[in-house]
Amino acid sequence: MAAQVTTNQSIINDDSGSLTTDSEFQTNVNSKKRLSSSSNILPTSSILSPTGLTSLISFIVLTCAYISGFMSRLFSVIRFESIIHEFDPWFNYRSTAYMTENGFYNFLNWFDELAWYPLGRIVGGTIYPGLMVTSGVIHWFLHMINIPIHIREICVFLAPFFSGLTALATYLLTKELWSRRAGLFAAAFIAIAPGYSSRSVAGSYDNEGIAIFALMFTYFLWIRSVKTGSVFWSCCTALSYFYMVSAWGGYVFIINLIPVHVFILLVLRRYSLRLYVSYSIFYILGLILSMQIPFVGFQPVRTSEHMLAAGVFALLQAYAFIDYLYTKLPRADDLKQLFFGLMIFIGLSVFAVVVILTYAGYIAPWSGRFYSLWDTNYAKIHIPIIASVSEHQPTTWTSFFFDLHLLICLFPVGAWFCIKELNDERVFIVLYAVFASYFAGVMIRLMLTLTPCVCVLAAIALSKTLDYYADTETSDMSTSPVVPSNDNDENENETEKNNRNLYDKAGKPKPIPGRRGPTNTNQDTDDDTSIVSSNIKTVVVICIAMMLMLLAVHCTWVTSNAYSSPSIVLASYNNDGSRYIIDDFREAYYWLRKNTPERARVMSWWDYGYQIAGMGNRTVLVDNNTWNNSHIALVGKAMSSNESEAYKIMTMLDVDYVLVIFGGMIGYSGDDINKFLWMVRIAEGEHPKDIREQDYFTENGEFRVDRSGSPILLNCLMYKLCYYRFGELQTDFRSPPGFDRTRHVEIGNKNFDLQHVEEAYTTEHWIVRIYKVKKLANRLQAKNALRQVQRRKSIYSTSKKTSGQARKQGVILNKPQVKKGTKVLTRKT
């Protein structure tokens, strides 16, 4: 609640700020047109010069955008606590903590033995360290000025902090592209847009949180350097690009979009020396810098993803040379067609060289993840592990609307305006719009890269519209001296009303019609130039204000309801509205941490790997860094085979504990049974002989856990671990015992015993169940005792004569020992 109030307050400030900015800027514009009238319009501004006031107001608006961006992401901290969310953030947090304890160089050389048992993982060479370094630097700085803050707090609040910075970067970019007013709108939009806050709420400590800032800032610097052609700005671009490379794998988007921009500018004959300078310097510096990241290494010169940049670089050099010749040669105009042909020839040959190098094997072809963006069915067929992740699914129109609301409607209009008044830098934003909207359509996760672009273009569309419609000066000049005093009253009224109704951002320009409506009515009758009547103007502004208001409300609602759940701590609400916290995950991980041997190895599905390592501090077999598909498939196979088969795999992998997530007790839908088919699919991909997806369906092709379910499913390890002793439990007096509340069926296989594993721990709501894998069992005594006697004789009677011990050992008959005995025997003879 506290957060909400603060948010409102800040946004309200924001309103009044931008409102005044609008009118202020118009003042500027008009003052240029009619110098005489400028003094009339703003009598109160005599203290401050108009430009000074404009920048003050911009400053206030940006501060408010920053604060509202920060505040609107704090829902989860206020509702729960300052906690790291979900899965990947736990790994990031763990490695950040490692870095602050052991120093940067030890971090780069860190071999993590808690993951991927028995393989381990070289962390320094397989991550983008930008995130850890950023929070490490902040931590170091705060400690230097004697603020003893725990690294976890920094990790939790890093993403909101950076989303404020993103708002500033977006402002700068939009200002370069269009105008300062559009920039203020864009900053306000990006601060609250759910498409971005989905990945940057407090506690979601992930690469994307800082990467979007780096992305927007790089683009701003790039536009700046194209505009100015200065070496300084392009060096800055390269540095910012370096930061982006260190932070997120999405840097590939930058290194492809900027070359496309350059290429299109060449095609549009917008080549200039500015372009040449900025791209050449950016490419060379950016190339060298990006290769300093261990994870990236030589990829920028060896993979197809980066070849577009290299090809365009070569092309640009050729173009510059030909352009130079063209200016120097006498009668060059006659050779125009020759130059043109030459250029096309060079372009084609550069392309051919890249293709030949790819075929020759010098350049790696597109990686599967990248390729699946173009061929949308690729991942489904070839890489089930990518297809299994929900954020790699394509996007429905509902998701677009959910994440962007009004902005997505204004988005195409902004693109239209940019195309109509095209210049070098607007080509860029249009290209960005086209590519980002395609990628966002293919993969829901890439909505994140689309959101800033949508905010920029929607802000452009809106500010262009309001430039005219919120403009008072064209219709009434005589009444304007009255306006300021009026304005203040109205403004205050509005603010109060906002506070009462909790209407965020209550119509940025809404107060304008309020004050203008009555003053204009006597004016617009004798208004005979070709302009829109001020009544209509008022209506337009009110309508837009209401829609903006709705946008703000929508954004807050979405961020609060959909994106602020930590997913480690669950909350359920009773009928009377009281809240009930379900904290099973942490309970289980804490149990693991305290009650198992330090070197214990825990097998679970890969989703929980990072959490077990981060919170439980135990070794896991597979985790969310899904680099080794066959290892994951092995775990999947163990989960989907029957108990004795699974036991073979588990002993092979040295598993001590098995952990499963089970939601049937309280109706938690994200549990392992619901993910189970993916385990089967991934296992089938590697072991098609042993695991068949078809076996897990009923005759009618349904996936059921009740009595009609397929017997193979009802006897596999995952089923048994989830439902062990569940049949004895009556969750509700109306339902039979063993009623699964997630799938709403009574389970099919109830009273069974576990042979090779034993229950170790089950949390309060049964969400996490941990089983201990038994050591190899004693052999069952064979029915014909004769055989035992024979074996005992054959082994021990010759080598050892101690009969009493031998008999005991003979009864146990441990197989490896027996073999060892024979080997020794043969060696002796």
Binding site: T396, W397, T398, V434, A440, T465, S530, V532, M547, P688
Partner: protein, 324 residues
């Protein structure tokens, strides 16, 4: 002595029998190999089916498609299934795995209705695997309803059943290639004809419309459609009513995305009208005002309609604007 004669006689009988059986088998295999070399899918009629497939003495296995290809049967998917099956058989025929122990056959309903009766089939197409020496079990029927009949799935099934690895080879589809060539030549031709004035290429309006349509195409979920292939509209099997919109936010129909496409387009037009209104030339301001009013009405109505559709799809969404 007598017994010896008997014994000899019996032995001779057995060997002869065995010999003749082997002869018959090798004859069959020879015949089948010959056929399949000629045509990858062997067309079987009633007698052939009885002789080569139904007979229990077999040491080769067969994959047989039961289908109804003649046009009066009006089985449209039979033709597609046949094409896919043909691709598989063709790839097998020219692959290294080709041997005389696995054959591909096909029984058309009009040639071999007895075979259909014998297997109690009343649907087509059906793919059945006939393992050597045995009758097909339930698991030897390919499950078309789940896996579909694409060549990849058929190959997977074959690999499953008979352990034959086939590398698929699809004959390249030249029609798309030709279309592209045709397009390029047309464009080049157009450019050549219009070579004096390239202005239309630099026309912002044309490019603008093109780009906006591309953006709208993406944001209205058409990519989702092309990946997931939803039906055009929803038809309720009980009431027969058809609904344009799906009730959940995770699913959509094609018709629905078209509507959304148009709504976005309408809103865009509305905003553009708003911006064009002051620039129109007119004597009084009335025309401008009218255009602006139309613009804002279009924007507001369409946006609130969009919001109400969204609200109906997203359960528990609290806000609406003008239209519930």
């Amino acid at each position: 002595m007598k017994y010896f004669v008997y014994l000899f006689f019996i032995c001779a009988c057995i060997t002869l029998n065995v010999l003749s059986e082997e002869d018959v088998l090798s004859d069959k295999i020879q015949q089948l190999t010959q056929w399949s070399l000629k045509k990858p899918i062997i067309r079987l009629n009633n007698e052939h089916f009885k002789h080569y497939v139904k007979a229990s003495s077999r040491n080769y296995s067969m994959f047989i498609m039961f289908t109804a290809l003649s046009p009066q049967r009006q089985c449209s998917i039979c033709k597609q299934a046949y094409d896919e099956f043909q691709i598989v058989a063709q790839s097998y025929r020219y692959s290294n795995a080709f041997s005389n122990s696995v054959f591909f056959g096909m029984v058309d309903f009009d040639d071999g209705s007895d075979a259909f009766q014998y297997l109690k089939l009343n649907t087509a197409p059906v793919f059945i695997y006939f393992p050597p020496k045995m009758k097909p079990k339930k698991s030897d029927y390919m499950d078309l309803s789940r896996s579909g009949f694409s060549a990849e799935q058929i190959i997977k099934w074959i690999h499953d059943r008979a352990d034959v690895e086939i590398q698929i080879y699809r004959p390249p589809n030249y029609s798309g290639f030709l279309l592209v060539i045709l397009m390029i030549t047309m464009i080049l031709g157009l450019l050549y004809v219009k070579r004096d004035s390239f202005k239309f290429l630099f026309n912002h309006i044309v490019w603008g419309i093109f780009i906006i349509l591309a953006i709208l195409f993406c944001i209205s979920g058409q990519i989702w459609n092309s990946i997931r292939g939803p039906p055009f509209t929803h038809r309720n099997p009980q009431t027969g009513q058809s609904g344009l919109f799906s009730g959940t936010s995770g699913y959509q129909f094609i018709a629905e995305t078209y509507i959304v496409f148009l709504l976005y387009f309408g809103v865009s037009i509305g905003v553009i009208l708003l911006n064009e209104a002051p620039k129109l030339k007119s004597q009084t301001g009335k025309r401008n005002s009218f255009v602006a009013a139309v613009g804002i009405v279009v924007v507001v109505i369409l946006f609130s309609y969009l919001l109400s559709i969204f609200r109906s799809k997203y359960q528990g969404y609290p806000y609406s604007f003008l239209i519930k």
